[in-house]
Symmetry: C2
Subunit: 465 residues, 2 copies
């Protein structure tokens, strides 16, 4: 007879940790660093503070060229975490503060917890967290994760005075890793992070005693991303039913204007008329079939305004150009920021850069991918940008010889929801709207590279005379 079981989300991601990016000690070390850095950057941006992030990775025991035990430590000056929430933030999977409709690096509520989980199952040691939101107290916890029940086990809790009003978070734990095999990608990740977060200062003390310092070259935070309301094009029966369950509105007209993005009274009235629904009806009295009818009409009504991307926080052409110049030192750079667009009701902005020559030496196209200011370093062949750059662009039309010319293409996509195809945030799905924007962005900058290359050729020919 079949034996039925239920497993917790922590158990699910423990058993399937490769799906979350923790497949082996080398990859796990990379994922650990990235998850922690992304949490720190989100925390600083949430309070509009220039990020100061210090990461220390120290070899503890085992071979330096193989699987060994490392101590991971990260300190930031971000928002901090309220004392009562610290155990849940790090000891529970599917728990977090980023389930809102807002541009953040975090999205799943499990990254930081997975890093700690992996450390626990390989070293059997607890994690130590110290955090303060700047108030009178600083909270220190030592905890482990009860994987089967998906909840923290607090081993020790201390409350310290916080006389200097320090605000931020310190996370420290031990984990099995393989720095020999992952150092290149870890350093590359930090370099590329510095490239698209030029206002952040990141210091990395590596196990070999080397100190990597990525200084900020911008001294002002960009306007922060804002939380936004759902757009009519993104709804389904479940979203509508949740809104109805909690709404305080008493009419369908108020329901539409209060809960949806850019829906005013005029548009709402036109819409309800087109949908054949009574604007005075109490939303809580919508029948089963009418909810489906409402969803269908919301998706197909042409009169809604497109999502407004003012809630997003793109890099901007100036910063993108500066970041590329600083990191890649090319002979030529061109950047473009596409007009805002949307997919399934989610606004997004694509920014594309192209760079040629100088510090870029490898012939052909080297692709740099970013989503919500996170560098994506794995599985590029499955990514929408790869598909565009390698299958949809005929580079010879832009006078680029792939066997000779060293070109870098940089694509950044920011959105209230990035359509990652994996829990490890490795690559982005080829949604038609996103594909189109990336394609047009690459064409725009490729044209400018073409002009540069023809001008360069012309100058060289004139020199020969």
């Amino acid at each position: 007879m079949s034996k039925f079981e239920e497993i917790s989300p922590a158990d699910f991601f423990y058993r399937n940790r490769d799906i979350a990016g923790f497949s082996n000690p080398a990859r796990a070390l990379y994922s650990t660093i990235r998850e922690l850095v992304e949490n720190s950057l989100d925390a600083c941006e949430s309070i509009g503070v220039l990020p100061d992030i210090y990461i220390s990775l120290r070899h503890v025991k085992g071979p330096v060229d193989g699987t060994a035990v490392y101590r991971v430590k990260i300190l930031d000056n971000g928002s901090g975490i309220p004392g009562s929430k610290i155990p849940l933030a790090f000891g529970k999977v599917l728990y977090g503060s980023k389930y809102r409709l807002k541009q953040t690096r975090g999205t799943f509520g499990l990254g930081g917890t997975m890093a700690i989980l992996y450390g626990q199952i390989t070293t059997n040691k607890a994690v130590r967290v110290v955090s303060s939101t700047g108030g009178a107290s600083m909270y220190e916890y030592e905890l482990t994760i009860d994987i089967r029940r998906n909840r923290p086990r607090v081993i020790r809790r201390r409350v310290h005075k916080n006389p200097n009003g320090w605000r931020g978070t310190l996370v420290e734990f031990y984990t099995e890793g393989d720095y020999f095999r992952s150092s290149f990608r870890i350093v590359e990740y930090l370099k590329q992070t510095a490239m698209v977060n030029p206002y952040a200062e990141i210091v990395f003390a590596d196990p070999r005693g080397r100190l990597y310092v990525f200084e900020r070259c911008v001294y002002e935070m960009p306007p922060p991303p804002k939380e936004t309301l759902p757009h009519p094009y993104g709804v389904d029966v479940e979203t509508i039913q949740r809104l109805i369950a909690h709404t305080e509105t008493k009419t369908l007209l108020d329901f539409m204007t209060k809960h949806f993005h850019r829906v005013g009274k005029a548009i709402a009235s036109k819409f309800l008329e087109a949908a054949g629904l009574n604007p005075k009806l109490n939303p809580k009295r919508l029948g089963r079939e009418d909810v489906v009818k409402l969803v269908h009409h919301m998706k197909s009504f042409k009169g809604f305004l497109p999502p407004d991307a003012s809630c997003l926080s793109p890099l901007g052409e100036e910063l993108l150009k500066a970041g590329i110049e600083k990191e890649l030192k090319p002979e030529f750079v061109a950047v473009t920021q596409r007009k805002p667009s949307s997919y399934s009701g989610y606004p997004f902005i694509v920014e594309v850069g192209i760079a040629y020559g100088g510090g870029i030496t490898k012939p052909g196209i080297t692709l740099y991918r970013f989503s919500n200011k996170i560098p994506l370093l794995y599985d590029e062949a499955s990514d929408v940008s790869w598909k565009v750059v390698n299958q949809m662009i005929d580079w010879s039309r832009y006078k680029v010889n792939l066997n000779v010319d060293p070109v870098a293409v940089i694509v950044h996509i920011c959105s209230t929801r990035i359509p990652y195809k994996t829990v490890g945030k490795e690559f982005i799905a080829d949604r038609p709207e996103i594909e189109r924007e990336v394609l047009n962005g690459v064409r725009t900058v490729a044209r400018r590279l073409m002009l540069h290359l023809s001008r360069k050729k012309r100058i060289q020919r004139e020199k020969k005379r």
Copy 2:
């Protein structure tokens, strides 16, 4: 101030349903059919019964060449589900009977539930399930999923008499789909399923009134897969602690022999001596550091026997050859079953086939991928078999001209754990051990194709004289 929330696993996979393969109506229809068929095949194999599976997909309303409402119905003669478990099996994510260490198609405990969830959020209708395990009663349920709480809502429950002792499961629900865009892949999925499950009879009544019948051509079930004990090479701190928590053994020696695969008293004694652990020690008294020490030594001790693959249920060379001949009708076929191997303590067997000409007309290599007898039709460029076939084999050395010669390569991997990289089971990670076995398997059959091609050339030259 950040607002912290916890979400249920159903809510997580609802919000991130593209990660589970439910990204749009066309893809969702494909995923729906595959998840249901895989559940039915697992159910029949679990009781050693020749599978009879009937699938009906009927267009209900909406455009026939776009997004529309479909009624999905699937009936099988499998194990059935105990009455009290039916609501949980279909109304709860991370719940199922396939969390054991055994070769099954299902592995995550969420596929069937996701299909129903997608149907619910697009049509707002309940699912109807009728099932019996062959006893005196047949259970009929109508239920919906409470996504926020990850639990079923039973709308109606009926118990019927079962005078004929029927055993099996019927699932019926409505969902939004796009058959126009997914019909090709759905039919291809069923064809390829028939190819590697030649003992199954599958009937598919499609929305266009067409009946696809895949008759069985084998009348005996293969030996069923068996549940196995974990292997020492696959452990970590968490596995050991769970075993210790539940063990009834009183000594480390008994602990090793009782809980691990192919560990007898002699090997266990040698191991404990090498690990510097007292064989008489009560496992429940192992200290924190000693658990880590035990894990390290279990992973590195060279004296353990490799995992025994007798628990697996591969296709076998005869059936694989017959399946390829029946479906592809080629001029030439060669197949090979590799010796069992293992990765991280999980046993696996790779079976490779190559086919040329005849019904295969497209020049170059067409890759067919299977894992635990499931056809994989998406994201081939990210799969380990694709990497082997396209990056690691020089086909010209085997006298294959990729611009002219029509070749199909068929790879089947079966294991107690398939290292899928995604929740949607789209492609397999390039674990070194698996990569090596696929590479050697392809080389073996490529050599035989080479002999066939040279013989064919020789015959053609002689004819010309």
